[in-house]
């Protein structure tokens, strides 16, 4: 007998359930969680290093690093005296909520104010997986070319914050900043766009202020 079973279920519902558990845990702790997504080499870890240097004495931070291989990124973060745990995906192109749950436990990540989750370098696959974060941050470095937002619309439409990184290289590369801003604003009219350089420090104040304001908002205090 042929039966048609109507389901109406998200294909990734089991990931979403775990993400909801994570979100509840982080809410209980009052931890602001960010999911950083970009292609490899756009400066996620370097932005984190610069952020941690600036916020270090003021805000308790921890980092979960997602990579296919090597402990390198977690070591870079720990060198700054910040708790970090390396999640090795062993080939998988993205983090999922289960890996983040396991990483928090295995890394004995303490209760902190801000948890940075650095996803595996990839502009596509991480987009589909909710990690329980408060918001996604997409990075695009100026060396990657000014056509990327429309080429990878899913992540630019979803990320609340877009960071255009390596601003110090702008004089040396053909990169139409206005066109990129327009593409991002088209996909996400309410999003925030920041121009940063972890080398020169440009835009770091705006980025850190955004983190402070979002943390205050999460804790119900006026920003």
């Amino acid at each position: 007998m042929k039966t048609i079973v109507t389901v109406r279920r998200k294909a990734l519902a089991s990931n979403d359930e775990r993400a909801a558990q994570l979100r509840a845990l982080l809410a209980e702790r009052g931890t602001l969680a960010l999911n950083l997504i970009s292609s490899p080499g756009s400066g996620k870890t370097t932005l984190l290093e610069a952020s941690l240097r600036e916020l270090g004495g003021e805000i308790r931070c921890a980092v979960l690093e997602g990579d296919v291989a090597t402990e390198r990124d977690a070591e870079r973060i720990r060198a700054l005296g910040v708790p970090a745990h390396q999640i090795l995906t062993g080939g998988a192109c993205h983090l999922d909520a289960r890996l983040v749950q396991a990483g928090l436990e295995a890394g004995r990540i303490p209760e902190v104010d801000v948890l940075f989750i650095e996803n595996v370098g990839n502009l596509i696959c991480p987009t589909s997986y909710d990690l329980g974060e408060d918001f996604k941050v997409v990075l695009l470095s100026v060396t990657e070319g000014d056509d990327k937002p429309f080429k990878y619309p899913a992540i630019f439409a979803r990320a609340e914050v877009a960071v255009i990184s390596k601003a110090d290289l702008l004089p040396h590369v053909p990169f139409d900043l206005a066109a990129v801003r327009e593409q991002i604003a088209t996909l996400n009219p309410t999003g925030t766009i920041l121009l940063t350089s972890s080398v020169s420090g440009e835009g770091m104040d705006a980025w850190c202020d955004l983190l402070r304001a979002r943390l205050a908002a999460k804790r119900g205090a006026p920003a």
């Binding site: 007998m1 042929k2 079973v5 389901v7 619309p153």
Partner: protein, 119 residues
């Protein structure tokens, strides 16, 4: 490429959904995939074949319904017409910014299940 993991998840969820219908085989699963889901339908169908191969549902098919994202004008409310994959900066009528809606679907819609005849 994360389509393999997603195909495995869809298969697991589909089998779970028909678990109350007795022994039988899955004929097809209908799935909605949005333009902004970051999933490639052809790769997903290919992955599906690999996931079900050698099992009771080896003949099953994954049918993908493509759901474009819509661009709405905050003033006139009209859905701006656009070519797939291209985006409009402003409403052609009002010349105001548009809002992107939908297109993030990755939803199992229905499963066609052939239950074995009861003896």
């Amino acid at each position: 490429m994360h389509e393999m993991g997603i195909a495995i998840e869809i298969y697991r969820a589909s089998r779970e959904a028909v678990s109350g219908h007795g022994p039988g085989r899955v004929e097809r699963v209908r799935l909605a995939v949005g333009e902004l889901a970051a999933v490639e339908p052809d790769l997903l169908s290919f992955a599906w074949e690999a996931v079900v191969a050698g099992g009771p549902d080896a003949q099953s098919r994954l049918e993908v319904e493509w759901r474009p994202a819509r661009q709405l004008c905050s003033a006139c409310g009209e859905v701006a017409e656009r070519a797939s994959g291209s985006w409009l900066r402003l409403c052609p009528q009002c010349e105001l910014p548009l809002v992107v809606e939908g297109g993030d679907e990755l939803d199992i819609l229905e499963i066609v299940y052939e239950a074995e005849e009861a003896r």
